[in-house]
C-alpha cells in the first residue's frame, strides 16, 4: 500500500502543477440545461447542479490545497525543526522554555486556532497555510525533541565524537538526517492531510474557496434532491478526499515500518 500512496500523492501534485496550463473557464462552463448529466464520453464524471463538468472541476480543485499544503509544510519545518532540535540538543532551561511553548500551542485545538487566525488576519490561502503550519509545528518539534534527546547520549554519538566529528555535523547529519528524516516525512504528510481536511471543511462551510472557483469542499456544498438524482457530484469529491487522506496514511505506515525495520 505505501507505493500506491506515493503514486496517488505524486499524481495529485502533478495535476496541481499542470492544471493551470489547461484552458478551462469556471464561469463559461455553467449550463443549467445539462445539470446532473450522468457520466459519458463528453463528461467522464458527469455534471453538477449547474451543468459544470465534474472532472474538470475536480482537477482544478487540487490547486486549492496543494499549494497551501506545501507552504504549510515549509512553515512547520521552519519553526518545528529548529526548535525541536534545539530543545533536544541543549536540554536544561532552553528545552524547558521551548517545550512550554509547544505545550501552550498544543493546548489549543488546532482547528480553532486556525479559524481564529483566519478571522483576524483575513480569509486567504496564505493565512490558512501559515496558521496550519504554525499550529502543527509543536507536534513536529516535540517528536524531534524526543528523538534527539533519546539519541544524544547514545553510544553511536559518543563513538562519532571520539572520532572527532564536529558537534554541528553530529546534529545535522547523524541526528537530524540520519535518525529523523523518516519521522519528519511522516509528520509533514500528516500536516498535508490536516491541511486538506481544513481547506475542504472551511470551503464546505462557506469560509474557504468561494464559488465559482472549485474546491473539493465547496463541490460538496449543494442541495441534492431527496431522490438522490445526480449522485456523482457528491461521490466524486468525497472519494477524492478519502483517497488523498488514505494515501498519506499508507505512506506514513510504510515509513514507520521501514523505520522500525531499520
Amino acid at each position: 500500500m505505501p507505493w500506491l500512496g506515493v503514486g496517488l500523492l505524486i499524481g495529485v501534485l502533478g495535476i496541481a502543477a499542470l492544471i493551470p496550463l489547461a484552458s478551462y473557464d469556471v464561469v463559461a462552463d455553467v449550463d443549467p440545461t445539462r445539470a446532473f448529466a450522468g457520466p459519458g464520453l463528453r463528461h467522464p464524471l458527469g455534471t453538477d447542479h449547474l451543468g459544470r463538468d465534474i472532472l474538470w472541476r475536480m482537477l482544478l480543485a487540487s490547486r486549492a490545497f496543494v499549494g497551501p499544503g506545501l507552504l504549510a509544510c515549509l512553515v512547520c519545518l521552519g519553526f518545528g525543526l529548529p526548535l525541536g532540535a534545539a530543545a533536544g540538543w541543549f536540554s536544561g532551561a532552553v528545552a524547558a522554555v521551548i517545550r512550554y511553548l509547544f505545550t501552550v500551542v498544543q493546548g489549543l485545538p488546532r482547528f480553532i486556532l486556525v479559524l481564529l487566525a483566519l478571522s483576524i488576519y483575513g480569509n486567504r490561502p496564505s493565512v490558512l497555510a501559515i496558521a496550519a503550519g504554525l499550529a502543527y509545528a509543536p507536534t513536529l518539534g516535540e517528536a524531534i525533541f524526543e528523538r534527539i534527546e533519546g539519541l544524544r547520549s547514545s553510544e553511536f554519538i559518543a563513538a562519532h565524537r571520539a572520532h572527532g566529528v564536529s558537534e554541528t555535523r553530529l546534529l545535522l547529519v547523524h541526528l537530524l538526517w540520519g535518525a529523523c528524516r523518516r519521522l519528519l516525512a511522516r509528520h509533514l504528510l500528516a500536516l498535508f492531510a490536516f491541511l486538506l481536511i481544513l481547506e475542504t471543511t472551511l470551503s464546505y462551510l462557506g469560509f474557504g474557496v468561494e464559488q465559482p472557483h472549485p474546491s473539493w469542499g465547496n463541490m460538496l456544498a449543494f442541495d441534492l434532491d431527496h431522490d438522490g438524482s445526480g449522485w456523482m457530484p457528491l461521490v466524486a469529491p468525497a472519494t477524492a478526499i478519502w483517497l488523498v487522506i488514505a494515501a498519506t496514511v499508507w505512506v506514513r505506515q510504510g515509513l514507520a515500518e521501514e523505520e522500525h525495520g531499520a
Binding site: T103, T200, L234, A238
Partner: protein, 311 residues
C-alpha cells in the same frame, strides 16, 4: 500522588496563562487596527479603545485582560449579542457542548475497546473497515450520513412504506436524532475510532503477554479484572490527548447540524469578527482540554497501583 497532581495542576495554570498571551498576541499583531475590521467600528471605537487599552503595549493589554479574567469578566460580545457579557452568551451552550463531547468520548471509547477485544490477535476484516470509515473527515461523514438518511427516508415515503418522520429532513428539523447523529459522527470521524481501537489493541497485546496475566491464568483467577485495570489508565491518557481533536470536530458538527452549542457560536464569532467572544470561547476550550487531560492524569494515578507507589 498529591504532589504529582499538584505539578499537573500548576502545568495546567501555566498553559492557560500561555494561551491568554498567545491569543492576545494574535490580536496585537493583526495588521492595522483590530477595531477597523468590525462592521460597526466607528460606533464602538471610543468604548473599545478604552476597554482593550489599544494604545498601550502588549504586556499591558495582556495584564488588563488577565485582570478582567481573574474577576470572571470575559468582556462583552460585539456583534453576535452586542453588549451582552461573553460569559452569559456562552454559559448554557457550553454545558450542551460539554454533554455532547462527553457522550462522544464515551461512545468512541466503549466501541473502540469492545472492538479491540474482538479483533486483537487475529486477522480480521473489521480492522480495515473501521479504519476506512474512521479516516473520513467529520464534515464529510456528516454530509454523507445526512444525505443517506434523507434519501433512504424519502424513498420509503414515496413507496408508502412509512409516514413522514418528525425529524425529516435533517438537519432542518429539531429532533434528538440530530444530537445522536452528532455524537456518533464525533465518535467515529477524523480517525477518532480507529486510533482508540488500535491503541487499545496494542495495549491489550502487551497486557495479555505480561507476567501478571500469566500468573492469574495459572491460578485460575478471572482475567478480566486484571486486563481492565491495566488497560484503562493508559487508554484514558491516550484518549485525553485526543481531546483537542474532539473539540475541533465539535465546532464543525454544531455548524453543520445546526446545534446550538459553543462550537456554533465560535463559528459565528469568527466569521463576524466578534473578537471578545471568539477569544473567550478559545480560552474556554483550552481550559476544557487542559482539564480533560488533568482529569485523565488523576484517574491514571488513582487507578494504576504502580504509579501510586512511585508518585
Amino acid at each position: 500522588m498529591a504532589l504529582a497532581l499538584g505539578r499537573e495542576a500548576l502545568g495546567f495554570v501555566l498553559t492557560l496563562l500561555g494561551a491568554v498571551v498567545l491569543v492576545q498576541s494574535l490580536l496585537y499583531f493583526a495588521p492595522g487596527d483590530a477595531i477597523d475590521t468590525l462592521p460597526n467600528a466607528e460606533e464602538l471605537r471610543p468604548v473599545l479603545e478604552r476597554q482593550w487599552r489599544l494604545g498601550e503595549s502588549l504586556p499591558i493589554q495582556i495584564g488588563s485582560y488577565l485582570w478582567d479574567l481573574a474577576q470572571g469578566d470575559l468582556r462583552t460580545s460585539l456583534v453576535y449579542r452586542p453588549g451582552m457579557p461573553v460569559w452569559e452568551v456562552i454559559a448554557r451552550p457550553a454545558w450542551r457542548s460539554a454533554q455532547l463531547l462527553l457522550a462522544a468520548t464515551l461512545l468512541a471509547t466503549s466501541v473502540g475497546v469492545g472492538l479491540s477485544f474482538w479483533t486483537q490477535g487475529r486477522r480480521h476484516l473489521t480492522r480495515p473497515a473501521v479504519w476506512a470509515v474512521s479516516i473520513v473527515p467529520v464534515f464529510l461523514l456528516a454530509r454523507l450520513m445526512i444525505h443517506l438518511l434523507n434519501t433512504t427516508t424519502w424513498s420509503m415515503m414515496q413507496a408508502d412504506l412509512i409516514a413522514r418522520p418528525a425529524w425529516f429532513a435533517l438537519p432542518l428539523e429539531d429532533h434528538p436524532l440530530r444530537w445522536a447523529l452528532a455524537v456518533s459522527i464525533l465518535a467515529i470521524g477524523s480517525g477518532a475510532l480507529s486510533e482508540i481501537h488500535s491503541e487499545s489493541e496494542g495495549l491489550l497485546r502487551k497486557i495479555r503477554a505480561s507476567g501478571y496475566i500469566e500468573a492469574a491464568r495459572a491460578r485460575g483467577a478471572p482475567l478480566w479484572p486484571s486486563i481492565l485495570r491495566n488497560l484503562l489508565p493508559p487508554l484514558t491518557v491516550a484518549i485525553a490527548s485526543r481531546a483537542a481533536f474532539f473539540v475541533g470536530g465539535l465546532v464543525i458538527l454544531e455548524k453543520i447540524l445546526l446545534l446550538n452549542g459553543i462550537g456554533a457560536i465560535l463559528w459565528q464569532a469568527a466569521v463576524s469578527r466578534d473578537y471578545p467572544l471568539a477569544l473567550g470561547i478559545t480560552l474556554l476550550t483550552a481550559a476544557a482540554v487542559g482539564l480533560f487531560r488533568l482529569g485523565a492524569d488523576a484517574l491514571r494515578l488513582w487507578w494504576d497501583p504502580r504509579r501510586g507507589a512511585t508518585a
